[in-house]
Symmetry: C2
Amino acid sequence: MASHDITERERGARCCADGVTLSLSMAEAQQVSDDLHVLGHPVRLLILDVLAQYAGKVCVCDLEAAVPVKQPTVSHHLRLLREAGLVDAERHGPWMYYFIRHEALEALRSRITRMLALFEG
Amino acid sequence: MASHDITERERGARCCADGVTLSLSMAEAQQVSDDLHVLGHPVRLLILDVLAQYAGKVCVCDLEAAVPVKQPTVSHHLRLLREAGLVDAERHGPWMYYFIRHEALEALRSRITRMLALFEG
DNA sequence: ACAACATATTGACAATCTTCAATATAGATG
DNA sequence: CATCTATATTGAAGATTGTCAATATGTTGT
């Protein structure tokens, strides 16, 4: 084989050549990653699903009925959703009524959508 | 207070009343949750970002340069992405060239988008 | 065959997440 | 105030995840 023939090594010569550019900063990646984490649990998805249907009228016992975990676990997931700003709650007598914070959910949705769009051909 | 007045307890009387309906099945919630997990790490997001820009031309060393973790960790994340079907790779000489599987990414994107749409007012 | 390189795998460790029983808090009722 | 109900918090145990050093595997050029 003549030395000017293209070898495997030469063909791959682009490899590791110049600096790879990113359209996502580390901070953005971290933010979206946090977003995805909050959503990334079946129980939390089901909770949001219920909340979306019975806007402003859902007490914890309704949520307990909808998911296959015990009450302290429901409470735990509600706290995570609340800390993420996706839901909030009001007390009415003995009950807590949870509801979706639509602006926050919309913002999160838009961040995720924008990120997914980056990956499209 | 007359006994027919609305008490806190009565006002909340809807609580726990009838069966709450879900538009998401447990299996669907689990599927989307898995989807979100694969995406839910900054390093994997950055990897997908790079792959999206240099379609079919990215060797592992390029990816190593783009993310703040060591080579075995890059390899680990690539494996997760691959097992999820989101990327695949071809060997060219000593190098592995990774690329996005766009149909798979599109399917995932559509599942996530559909789910987020459920939660909109 | 050997040396040099690119990538994958293994194994270990630390950190984080999920769950639940037990317990605490808070409001409503008698 | 005593008690009941609804929800939150605590603490502990197990599972999962992220990371890397060390090592293995596979490829190329000598």
